[in-house]
């Protein structure tokens, strides 16, 4: 039987706290790119997708956060499950959290490419928040999304990507 606890050093973490400023996002993208590449994940398609996902998660979080701080956590599990996890956390109104969670539910409940095209058509007709950023993460970056909203008003969104095993 495999032990339930992971051996020390099996995960690499980075957590970034971003103050409410969209201008910091290029710097965070560069940091995440450097972090994953320095941990042996240098496949250009994977890194590009991850960078897109980081941007879209953070832009959403920063734009709709109700306080001054948004956090991004990046987890690379190098030894066991061979995946990367991105988590953003921010304070959000009940309404914006419900909207985001509805968009995630829609994306996870259907065929990603089809839902993405539906969202593109909808976004062309409406100036409302379209969910295209989340759709990009699922359909273009091939990551899965989940979310939680707690009593303190914190919205967390988790994006998970499977990675090829490190040789």
């Amino acid at each position: 039987m495999q032990p339930l606890t992971k051996p020390a050093g099996s995960e690499h973490f980075a957590t970034v706290f971003v103050h409410l400023n969209l201008k910091t996002l290029p710097h965070v993208r560069r940091f995440v790119r450097g972090f994953v590449e320095s941990n042996g994940r240098d496949d250009p398609d994977f890194v590009s997708g991850l960078v897109v996902a980081v941007h879209e998660l953070l832009e959403n979080a920063v734009r709709y956060s109700t306080d001054s701080t948004t956090s991004l956590e990046v987890k690379l599990d190098l030894c066991h499950s061979h995946h990367v996890v991105l988590i953003t956390r921010n304070q959000a109104t009940r309404e914006s959290a419900a909207r985001v969670r509805g968009q995630i539910s829609r994306l996870q409940g259907g065929e990603p490419a089809k839902v993405y095209q539906e969202m593109l058509h909808e976004s062309a007709k409406s100036a409302e928040q379209s969910g295209l950023g989340l759709a990009r993460i699922v359909a273009e970056c091939q990551m899965s999304l989940s979310s939680a909203y707690d009593e303190s008003g914190e919205l967390s969104i988790e994006a998970i990507s499977n990675l090829p095993k490190v040789a």
Binding site: D45, E56, L132, G133, A139
Partner: protein, 127 residues
Amino acid sequence: MNPVIFSTQAPDFNASLTAREPSDLVLTLIGSAENDVRELLPTVLSTTDDAARSRQATRVEVDFRQLEFMSSSCFKEFVAWLSKIKTRADPEQYRVILHSSKDIRWQRASLFALSCFAANVVEIQTE
């Protein structure tokens, strides 16, 4: 050098519309399309559309090969532009040729999504 019809810039972004021939337009995008660029793109794309229609262009080329990044908020402006073109009657439509770089990986999936969205309007050429 091709005559410049329109150009604009933001920090780390530049867009210019040129005419190779009177009815052969090229929109070149350089840098990163995010943040402030979201405010510029509607003007960039409506100017391109106006120029294409007034010159009765049959095609407009958009050169993405030096565009390192584009956020979904900017991507949405391209969706709106293509939507406007594809809902016009045939004689008023023009083709949109998207030039992409194989070395800038986000472009493959994003521009493919645009080509699916407006299949009769968009063509992708990757170099």
